[in-house]
């Protein structure tokens, strides 16, 4: 046995940020607005909770400017659970992100669900010790966020609807664009980078490895065990569930069921079992019925 000094330790490197996201793989991350919901999420087997002031369905219904959560509420949620806690900052609002970091939150979501604070710039995420997750609707957007320091990507979907169609479109788009890059000749990648509006080095890395350099979850409109299992079969590393749990008739049962379906996504018998006896799903809104200016997925670029 060797006893050794810690003088060569490096804190908050890219590898420990991306590695943190690796630890969440195969899991469900649930939106919670208070400590009681956080405990329900943890008991169900969530890998993390997302602390926010209002779930997306309420943000959509109530309107107004949606901002970072109250620090007192985030503290209470951190105290209530032993799993990691995430919290949302507005797009471009680096001071909200600084506050969230100072609270000791484990992951910051620079989120289109909140009202954007900057219509030109996203947060320079390399400046933070806390890792970031960002939304994306396609590969170019995902790579731009990674270039800014995101350690995890989630496809956006259309939050607060209970309509999974946009989540499906976004995860399919991202994975299809990755497969397309993998099949290109090396001299085609220069134009691909131009078309994706993404840095060439990241395009090259994706083409060579056949995957994003960070974990890819999916989000936005997932409301049932079947929705979660479909996202996993489409290649997601895990799922975020927002309004789908606590806007449903029986949040405890539904939280458990979505976690079980995510873990056993490739086993239809298990997903069928998880789908029984859940009561009402959230009522939901068809994305097509939402006027374009109210679509959250189109925020961020």
């Amino acid at each position: 046995m060797t006893l050794q000094n810690d003088s060569n330790a490096q804190v908050a490197t890219t590898r420990v940020k991306r590695g943190m996201a690796d630890m969440l793989k195969g899991g469900v991350i649930m939106d919670v607005v208070n400590a009681e919901q956080a405990r329900i999420a943890e008991d169900a087997g969530s890998v993390a909770v997302m602390a926010l002031e209002r779930v997306p369905a309420d943000i959509r219904a109530q309107g107004g400017v949606a901002r970072m959560s109250d620090p007192d509420m985030i503290d209470k949620i951190i105290a209530a659970v032993s799993i990691p806690v995430m919290a949302k900052a507005r797009i471009g609002h680096f001071v909200e992100a600084q506050i969230i970091e100072s609270l000791g939150v484990d992951f910051i979501d620079e989120s289109e669900v909140l009202t954007p604070a900057d219509f030109a710039h996203h947060i320079d995420k390399w400046k933070f010790k806390t890792p970031f997750v960002c939304g994306a609707t396609n590969l170019g957007e995902a790579l731009r966020r990674i270039n800014e320091g995101a350690a995890m990507i989630r496809s956006k979907g259309e939050a607060g609807t209970g309509d999974v169609s946009n989540a499906t479109t976004h995860i399919r788009t991202i994975t299809a664009e990755i497969r397309k890059l993998s099949s290109m000749r090396s001299d085609e990648l220069y134009v691909a980078a131009k078309e994706l509006q993404a840095p060439y080095d990241l395009v090259l890395e994706v083409a060579r490895t056949g995957s994003l350099p960070v974990v890819l979850f999916t989000a936005g409109g997932i409301a049932t065990p079947a929705d979660a299992a479909m996202m996993m079969q489409l290649g997601a590393d895990g799922v975020f569930v927002g309004s789908g749990i606590f806007k449903s008739g029986d949040p405890v049962a539904r939280a458990n069921a979505i976690v079980q379906a995510t873990m056993n996504f490739d086993n239809p018998d298990a997903v069928a079992k998880a789908s029984r006896g859940l009561g009402e799903a959230m009522v939901g809104i068809n994305v097509a019925d939402i006027p374009v200016p109210h679509r959250l997925a189109e925020r961020g670029w």
């Binding site: 330790a9 590695g19 943190m20 630890m23 969530s46 890998v47 990691p84």
Partner: protein
Amino acid sequence: MGASPIIGVLAIQGDVREHSKMLVESGAVVREVKHASDFAGVAGLVIPGGESTTMGILADKNNLFEPLRAAARELPVYGSCAGLIMLADVVTDARLDQPTIGGLHITAQRNAFGRQRDSFEIDLDIDAIGAPAFHAIFIRAPLVTSVGPQVEVLCAMKESVSRDDTHSQDERIVAVRQGNLLATSFHPELTSDLRFHQYFIEMVRSA
């Protein structure tokens, strides 16, 4: 034991894929283990990194504790990070009802270095796997705060990098072995250094 032992990787959640890749590159055949029936025929088991609270809750709900405890009695088992917590007899700074597999006579303190912003990488000299130093990645990592007499300490750090001053002991134990059980606070599977996985496969081959 044949040339390529079958090693199970507990696949509730976490970095299953990274462990599987390292094991395959080290010459093992990998099987993801998710149901009690998946354990038949495995010669060793890896409990991956992930969230120990989640793994404990979901192992319980999916009736996996019985086969996991049998595996820890009978087979070589390696746990990294959350896996170390799952193998520990006693866990502190966890939910009071956190179930573990147990069998490894240690006390593990969860998140002993702080929250995610305090996660770090460090080079560690570990005699069991030889030179050069091993690049160890600690993510919301646990620490071994006490060990039973049968536990061999493979690696201990002198001081904590935590800003939390509550840890006063001089030895910060981050890798242990007790007979068929191997555990590390850090994640060899997030590097490309196969030595820990090769060490574990050697344990499986000589079991």
